[in-house]
Symmetry: C3
Subunit: 345 residues, 3 copies
């Protein structure tokens, strides 16, 4: 489908510099821009690409200052990143959505299936499961007995939702995600560990998106909670009995240990580890690879293991790197001190 | 099903305080306790919840001291956590167990299937595979050629067991686990890496439980071993040619590199990394996120990267956080020293 | 199949010490060597095993010096490790390869399937997908619409390749790997995060091997690239918009954040974390668990968080462990200094 720069500008409330009739039919990264495609420039790191890009149209921030002429038509907007997000959403909505139930799917007779769903090949849906209207379940996903799934969800291939778990509306689960596997609970005995059955569930509220191969474990009793609007990246571990607050975002490979409560609007970088049985406040930002051994109050930005505030952390880190030199200084000071002491006897 | 406090007390050898006829039909966390449910109190952190819980019955430790009256019936036992584990096990055993072979399963004619098994929809079982009595294989699991699986195992959906691997009795594998993928072995050549075929297997002994999306790689030759009673959490990497000793427990996201031998009764916290080609003794406990670069003797509790004993580690960590202040002190000492030296010339 | 030591020596251009008619029909690790098997000795750490091994034949380096007589026939070669790799490759090639299309597979009518392929039970292949000659797709793998896969690829069970992604020739994907899930992109709004659709793809070039449960995310627009000859271990995260250079190798549980460009012939140890929006040069070696916060030039070997050169890192690490002792020294120096100052008033 072809769009002119003018048409696009009107969708995102932008002003045009250059040929308003420039035609595009694809998106491209600015550094790979091709004729006929639209790109965007948001991160100042990439500004230099605008002078060479072959893209026909580039969306830029209103206040971008150029140092020389550029070839593409520019569309200036308040926030280039948000405008591109909006365009991509429009584009996505134009894509046809799959509907219908594949003949190769095993759906228990007692399951309740909503209107306008898509259920792909080899999907298995267990006894008494409930699937909401407009929900898409792609090939090979397994929905356990007594699971309930809301409306307009999108579940990608090879997802497993264990028995009894509850998903809200507009939940997205990417391929290979496992919801509701047993929490890791064992009691030691002299002959080995004894399993503590995990009879709780996982509750995933509305508008949650969970990446590929991430695991959210079922509670020992009651429920593990992933609250409204949470976004989890790939390969994350959410242990049993946890409660992840609204609109919290975690990057890939984060691990949250059992029975921990995380507040709202938190943001955890990649590979962060959070201890069990602690409470993290709201709006806590934690840098990549950090380790959090104990509870944290709201409204902090922390980094390191154990987590510290940013500026002292970077100071400590810099001095850590200089330890050999500092130690040499200490040794020399010691010598001088010893000599002075001799003189002063 | 309803139980009275009296019936439950007799199951776990407890003594009752309060109404022995209180009726429960569900479990709940103490902080979410509802009327008609039984809770427990084991971690002293949660003691305050007992004064407000709506649970009808709470299992507590024999020596718990209360500071005010409580509403629920109490059942006092030697160890509340163990008693709840026992009750949960009884509850779990009362659940009906699935049996039979789903019509949508592809089982090689040469495979040997035991008595009283459950084989779910779309399971694939390869040539000459052996499945023991009472084993449950849930939907979508793939069992390769020549795999042997013991009795009373429970394999959840979407597990892959590659050809030739051996599982003992009562092994539990959670969803998405991969047993026997190729070990990571490549030889560099000027034109790129050349694959070293991995022709060994994985041997998983009796009573092992492995979490969701965990990977145990096949050996280059011979076998990778996961010994009797080992418990692995989710998203763990066990590389090829390793040997994980009896009753060792690893939390989520641990990685053990190739050819390493881990002893018995070890316990590794989340995200720990263990180098390749080393030997870890028995009963070694390693704190979360630690890195282990070299072999370790038995009977140690260690933490940090590289691992250290706990008390020196916490001291070093505290001083690390104070490095900016310490460095300032050193700089001031240096000045004072220089002045003294001048005076003493 | 039986081979004599003489036959094997001729395959790998080795010289025999001992009985050239010794017969083997299996491989074994040297420490577990059984009569009738062939082992190898490459890592000097394991040399002592040669004096007790029951293996009938052992491949060793040309210049290995023995301190006493050994029982097995030795085959001396330039590089024992490479020779074993070669033998294993020959052995692997002798294994029968599966062919044909399982009757339980759902292949879109518009898909183009090459010659001599294997397509296992319950495989799903989407609209307009292209599968090259000699490619093996094992049970339960899901190939999305418009995916193209080259020749001689081997895709293990439970892999998901999302729509539109492109794989070259001789690509190996192990079980549970997810290629092309949405990149992690959300824009904050006062009411929660808004999804940024990810309309790009993943391009995997020739001769790439990817381990079990690893994730490579699709680009926001354009493509995420995994270049020729890259080898990725299990449970790795490759975020969207990244470009992983030719012949780069990553151990298990590495995470590479979004929009980062990694050069050729790099080597990352287990659990390394690489920040987003940076550039790593060619031939950069990074030790296990390191954290890389910013761009790195080519031809370096680094370790730690943030990464440092090896020798200063080990010095800093050693001094970190001695911080309590060093701090004590500083405190004593301070006292002495204070005394001297008094004397010198």
């Amino acid at each position: 489908m072809n769009f002119t720069a003018k048409q696009i500008a009107s969708l995102i409330d932008g002003t045009i510099e250059g040929d308003e009739n420039a035609i595009v039919n694809d998106f491209s990264k600015i550094e790979e821009g091709k004729s006929g495609s639209i790109s965007f420039l948001s991160n100042p790191k990439y500004t230099h690409f605008i002078y060479n890009t072959e893209a026909s149209v580039v969306i830029v921030d209103k206040n971008l200052k150029l140092e020389q002429d550029v070839k593409p038509t520019l569309i200036r907007v308040d926030n280039a990143y948000e405008s591109v997000a909006k365009l991509l959403q429009i584009y996505q909505q134009m894509m046809p959505q799959k509907k219908g139930i594949d003949e190769h799917a095993v759906i228990a007779a007692s399951a309740k299936i909503g209107q306008d769903v898509f259920i792909g090949a080899y999907v298995v849906i267990g006894e008494n499961a409930v699937i909401g209207d407009g929900t898409q379940i792609e090939a090979h996903t397994v929905i356990g007995d007594n699971v309930s799934i809301g409306n307009q969800c999108h579940i990608y291939p090879h997802v497993t939702v264990y028995h009894g778990c509850k998903l809200g509306n507009r939940v997205v689960l990417h391929a290979g995600t496992v919801i509701g596997a047993d929490g890791f609970g064992f009691a030691p005995t002299p002959n080995g560990y004894e399993k503590i059955p995990q009879i709780g569930i996982v509750t995933i509220e509305d508008d949650v998106e969970i990446g590929a191969n991430t695991c959210v474990d079922r509670s020992t009793m009651g429920s593990t909670y992933v609250r409204k609007g949470v976004k989890l990246d790939n390969l994350i571990q959410i242990a049993h009995n946890t409660d992840i607050g609204e609109n919290t975002v975690m990057s890939s490979q984060v691990g949250v240990a059992g029975s921990t409560k995380v507040g709202k609007w938190c943001m955890f970088g990649g590979q962060v580890g959070i201890s069990g049985h602690i409470t993290i406040g709201d709006n806590v930002h934690i840098g990549a690879q950090a380790g959090v051994p104990s509870s944290l109050k709201s409204n902090q930005t922390l980094i390191g293991t154990p987590v510290m505030e940013k500026i002292p952390f970077f100071k400590s880190q810099a001095l850590y790197q200089r330890l050999p030199e500092i130690y040499k200084q200490i040794s020399e000071m010691q010598k001088e001190l010893d000599e002075l002491k001799k003189k002063n006897k």
